[in-house]
């Protein structure tokens, strides 16, 4: 990739299998520190599997296997001495469907991961407020923090899930199609949060929405059949992609 900033995450010949199926094939890619990197591509391109290799979530599935290297801040995260649970606290993940923890209030949802990690805040209310402000949810929910999270609208729930990750002060945030079920306004609010976070942590965003990648991402990577086809600054990819497969996908052509 031309003009790449310093890498926070670097994969080398990364392959991931679901049983006999090789979902990710030899991907060597760098994710720049404090930038938003979008991953786009058709269904089955290996985008989500790739994402789940970056916090060692993929290996938790039966029959899953990972080859190659993932280095974060110079450390190979698949080294036997790396504790996957500790790693996942540093590398937060948000899924396509908002998943607030059932039975927990809005405030408890924010602190759930934090407490599971054994953290003890002197002023838990302070953590809740500060975190909800980062996802622009504080004003909407400050008067009903003890209500169940399920009362929130889908877009609010998704921002709550982002807040739950942020409470752990992650260095990297992985988002797997976070706006796929949201209307345009709710989507815009999530994107606004990503814009606010972009210089504070490193973000990798898998998205089916090309316009979302164009709006939000500093760089965009195109995956196809498990391979990384092209990764460049977003303005380059959307104006003048190098590879005809990228061109055809972005412009909605088939051949």
């Amino acid at each position: 990739m031309s003009g790449a900033a310093e890498a926070k995450v670097a994969t080398t010949s990364l392959s991931a299998h679901h049983g006999a199926v090789e979902a990710v094939r030899g991907v060597t890619m760098q994710v720049a520190r404090l930038e938003v990197t979008a991953i786009v591509g058709p269904a089955g391109a290996g985008k989500s599997t790739f994402l789940r290799c970056l916090n060692r979530l993929h290996e938790t599935k039966p029959g899953a296997r990972v080859e190659g290297r993932v280095v974060i801040d110079g450390v190979d995260i698949y080294h036997p001495e790396v504790d996957p649970a500790a790693l996942r606290r540093r590398i937060g993940m948000v899924f396509d469907r908002p998943q607030p923890l059932p039975g927990l209030s809005i405030g408890e949802n924010v602190l759930a991961g934090y407490r599971l990690a054994g953290e003890r805040a002197e002023r838990p209310d302070g953590v809740v407020e500060a975190t909800l402000r980062r996802v622009d949810l504080w004003d909407e929910v400050k008067d009903r923090l003890s209500r169940p999270a399920a009362v929130l609208a889908a877009g609010e729930q998704q921002r709550l899930c982002i807040a739950r990750c942020l409470a752990l002060k992650p260095e990297v945030l992985l988002l797997d199609e976070p706006c796929s079920g949201l209307d345009p306004i709710a989507t815009a609010r999530v994107e606004e949060v990503l814009n606010e976070l972009r210089r504070q942590l490193t973000i990798v965003l898998v998205t089916q929405s090309l316009s979302q990648a164009a709006r939000v991402a500093d760089t965009t990577a195109f995956f196809h059949e498990g391979e990384l086809i092209e990764h460049d600054r977003t303005d380059v990819v959307f104006r003048n992609p190098r590879d005809p497969r990228t061109e055809n996908y972005l412009t909605g052509r088939f051949g």
């Binding site: 164009a214 003048n240 088939f254």
Partner: protein, 228 residues
């Protein structure tokens, strides 16, 4: 530009219509120029008058094409080569509209010149007209075929037009100095040559946009001979 098809056939149809409309507008602009030169050679005042009406059609096409391009932008959010096509079209139609206006100017001078005997320098202007007509034709051809090499060939020809224009201009100044009876006609021929030189500039602009459309490379304002 690419052999593969758009998944959305309606979208593909809109892009095809956009290309065809630009080509049609370009053909009208070429017609004004070509028939204007013919009217000059044949001293055809009526022919020149009829051509002036063609400019209105060209103006109308500019509005229609702009409208279609904006519709596609709003509806389809084009990216990559589709985006470059739309951007190129929006600029190309402005150049073609200016060619139409210059065509009207040409016809006005042709009508005025027909009232007086033909002047010797006219043959050079006609030659220049043929050169410029070929540039415009090739620039449009390059657009339709997305032919970068042909577009660059058009760019290379602009300097020849400039130097011919300079020679014609000096030659006509010399004729004016030979006697006041030449001044009117020589001035009008100079204007014609200037219009042609400007049309060549517009053809050059079209060719530059073709290079951008095909390669994503902006070659405007580059040094002559080192474009790209």
């Amino acid at each position: 530009m690419t052999a593969v098809q758009h998944t959305d056939r309606l979208y593909a149809g809109e892009l095809a219509k956009l290309r065809e409309s630009v080509l049609y507008m370009g053909a009208k602009a070429e017609e004004v120029l070509g028939r204007g030169m013919q009217a000059l050679a044949e001293r055809d005042v009526e022919g020149a008058r009829r051509l002036i009406a063609l400019d209105e059609q060209i103006d109308e096409l500019e509005v229609q094409i702009d409208d279609l391009a904006l519709l596609i932008l709003a509806r389809r959010h084009p990216v990559a080569s589709d985006l470059r096509l739309i951007a190129a079209v929006l600029k190309i139609v402005t150049d073609l509209e200016r060619v139409g206006d210059l065509g009207v100017n040409i016809c006005e001078r042709v009508i005025e010149l027909a009232a007086a005997p033909t002047m010797e320098g006219q043959a050079d202007v006609l030659e220049l007209g043929a050169l410029v007509g070929a540039m415009l034709h090739d620039a449009l051809d390059a657009f339709v075929r997305a032919d970068e090499a042909l577009a660059r060939d058009v760019l290379d020809r602009d300097s020849e037009v400039d130097s011919r224009f300079a020679r014609i201009f000096e030659d006509l100044v010399a004729r004016m100095m030979q006697g006041p009876q030449n001044v009117d006609r020589a001035t009008r021929l100079q204007s014609l040559a200037r219009y042609l030189e400007r049309i060549a500039d517009h053809a050059t602009n079209v060719a530059e946009m073709v290079v951008f459309m095909v390669k994503g490379k902006d070659v405007r304002h580059s040094q002559r001979g080192t474009r790209g």
